[in-house]
């Protein structure tokens, strides 16, 4: 048994840790308003912001709990990506361009914490788009699924008197019929003759034909390229291009060339996508579930606490204190990591409470046995913890194995990657680790300090 000094050091560390967790979990502001006779209290407490400076670096952490689609409501869209027309060596580049493009479109919503993800399942590529808090799902589908907003328009010769008042759209009013779906990709390349950067365009067969017609018609004139009717460039056609490969050269530096190329790629979806799954969850449904779930959790927790006290008396009370610390630490971790809470996640949290209690029950039962054998309280406590540890370790290791298979951290394609199952697994796993810490380490030290004195009397 460690000496008394050490025990108290550990004890105060636990208290400090708990206190820190309480602060982190504190609501950002608590208005307090009440009257006692003539005495009026009207004050709002603010939680200190977690931003501080070390030297030049500034640390800032948003500690709000994050809720998933099921709790906050929103939309989840899964698109099938057609990769059959893309060469293998170009696939990664095309997928990245697709992702960047969709992200650009999603950001138009101004939705926070959107999640755009390319998923490879047995060679089938999927695009997962998650939009928490979006209620108008059909416009979201339209915006994301629209294949092309890129258009090519030819310059027409206006009468000299109209030129002065002509707008851009008046000048470039002849549609060439080419749009983003015809553009395979755009890259930046260096002209070997003058080492200047230029932007190349590559069209698909249909686009090549249209482009050949257009370059023939507008030779020595300009063709404007527009995204969402906003012009991004209007190069002059120098010659008829029939092979579908065009180069825009000019006096731009490499940064401007990259930007233009990215804009062109963003306007065109490099791969065609098809909506295969859509889920809409209105916030009301989520709200109902979260409220009921929290209520059920609290009732269950109180029952467990009462059961522990009823069964193990003072020991049970200390285990309950350990449980409260457990709850605080887990919540703190949710905020710090941060973990997006989904309903299955909350269920996983509740379940892990059960497993945390199990460690204590194992220990207390062992202590009872040792006491029955006639050992004194102190040594039966230490023996109880020591003997139970073996079982706790093995039993929890089994849960961790299954938890890891559910979490699938290496993204193995043959295992589940659904957010729901993962949300459950991550809270279950975290709960097990924290549960071992509080159930064994914290409870043991609390017992050493709090229960020892009383019993020895």
């Amino acid at each position: 048994m460690p000496n008394k000094n050490n025990i108290f050091k550990v004890f105060w560390t636990i208290i400090a840790l708990t206190f820190l967790c309480v602060i982190i979990n504190f609501p950002t502001q608590i208005p307090i308003k009440f009257n006692i006779g003539n005495f009026q209290v009207d004050h709002t407490f603010y939680r200190p912001d977690f931003s501080f400076k070390i030297g030049q670096k500034e640390f800032k952490k948003n500690l709000d709990l994050k809720y998933g689609l099921d709790l906050a409501g929103g939309a989840s869209l899964i698109f099938d990506i057609d990769t059959s027309n893309t060469k293998k060596e170009d696939l990664e580049e095309a997928l990245n361009a697709l992702k960047a493009n969709i992200e650009r479109r999603v950001n138009l919503f101004g939705v926070s914490e959107t999640n755009v993800q390319v998923v490879n399942q047995d060679g089938h590529y999927r695009l997962n788009v998650e939009l928490p808090g979006v209620e108008d799902i059909s416009s979201a589908i339209k915006l994301i699924g629209t294949t092309a907003q890129l258009s090519f328009k030819g310059e027409i010769t206006l009468a000299p008197e109209a030129t002065a008042s002509a707008t851009f759209n008046d000048v470039f009013s002849k549609d060439t019929g080419i749009n983003g779906s015809h553009l395979v990709r755009s890259t930046v390349q260096i002209n070997p003759n003058n080492s200047e950067p230029e932007v190349s365009l590559e069209f698909n067969p249909e686009g090549s034909k249209l482009f050949a017609t257009a370059t023939k018609e507008f030779i020595n004139k300009r063709i404007a390229i527009l995204i969402d009717d906003y012009p991004i460039t209007y190069p002059t056609v120098n010659s008829e291009i029939t092979d579908g490969k065009a180069v825009i050269s000019g006096s731009f530096d490499s940064k401007a060339a990259k930007e233009l190329s990215a804009q062109l790629n963003a306007g065109a979806l490099p791969l065609s996508i098809k909506l295969i799954q859509q889920d809409q969850i209105t916030a009301t449904l989520g709200k109902d579930s979260i409220d009921k779930g929290i209520f059920a959790g609290i009732v269950g927790l109180i029952l467990v606490c009462l059961f522990m006290i009823g069964n193990y008396g003072k020991l049970g009370l200390i285990a309950d204190i350990g449980l409260i610390i457990y709850g605080l630490i887990t919540l703190t971790l949710y905020r710090l990591i941060p973990i997006t809470l989904t309903f299955p996640g909350i269920v996983g949290f509740i379940l892990s409470i059960g497993m945390a209690v199990d460690s204590n029950i194992l220990i207390f039962e062992r202590m009872r046995e040792e006491t029955r054998k006639g050992k004194n309280w102190n040594s039966s406590m230490e023996l109880g913890f020591g003997r139970a540890w073996d079982s706790i370790k093995d039993a929890n290791a089994c849960t961790i194995i299954t938890g890891l298979i559910l979490l699938n951290p290496l993204n193995w394609p043959f295992l589940n990657t659904s957010g729901m199952v993962r949300g459950f697994a991550i809270t279950l796993l975290l709960g097990i680790f924290v549960g071992i810490f509080t159930g064994v380490f914290v409870t043991r030290n609390l017992l050493r300090v709090l229960a020892k004195e009383k019993i020895q009397k």
């Binding site: 959790g297 269950g300 029952l303 467990v304 269920v347 059960g354 849960t399 299954t402």
Partner: protein, 287 residues
Amino acid sequence: MNIMKFRPLFYIFSLCLILISIFSIVFWGFKSSIDFSGGSNWVMNLPSLPNQDSVNSIFQENNLDLPQIITNNQTYSFRFKNIDSDQKDKLVVSILKLDPDYKELKFESLGPVLGKELLKKTIYAVVLSAFALLIFIGSRFKDISFGSAAVLAMIHDTIILIGSFSLFGHFFGAELDSLFVTALLTTLSSSVHDTVVTFNRIKELRRQNYKFNWVDLANEAVTETLSRSLNNSMTIIFMLLSLVVLGGSTTKWFATALLVGVICGTYSSIGVAIPLVLFFKRDKKKK
């Protein structure tokens, strides 16, 4: 306490449960949710409480198959084959005629490809878990009969859990969804959790009294761990019962599945895993 003398009783009981489960799975099958079979689930709020015939006629008007309708007060759920957004827009127009206060709560559609994938991945996860646990427990106890007994008990729990869901589906309309898959995988580990604790005690007792025969060791270990097993199961049952009774409708069957899994897991560590270890050990002696 000589619990192990009831071994034949345990065998018969478990065999009955497994046979009932398999019977139900084979003959009644499952009410699989769209997670598995693919399709659309459309949940809406209709305050005017239209009857089923008028709702069916809307689907007939739009040349769609009749949906399966589940009503709960003002909440209507429709399940039907996949529709595209144009067809859905048309349906909304018709429904608005029926009830101007219509409000959509949820629209889920799952392509059948995804359903098949989920099923496949679940089977992989079960198999992978079984192998991982077999290896882990086998190596922890340096004895493969412990590992196989624990995994067989786990499979016993899994079959009963799946079977009970087939029964729930047949009699109460419970659906197999991806949350159920989560419950199933949790049961895999919690069943083993309980078994490992009892096995650990056998290992410890054997170290102390090597001369004991396996049946006596098993009896002693079960007696010593029984109150722990029951107390522990009680706390988990409290948590889950409160979720079943008080939780939202979306998680009700999920919690029920976990409840069945926990009760079954507690029983199987005493009634299945340990008798199986004794069975394996007896075989070895005869050789």
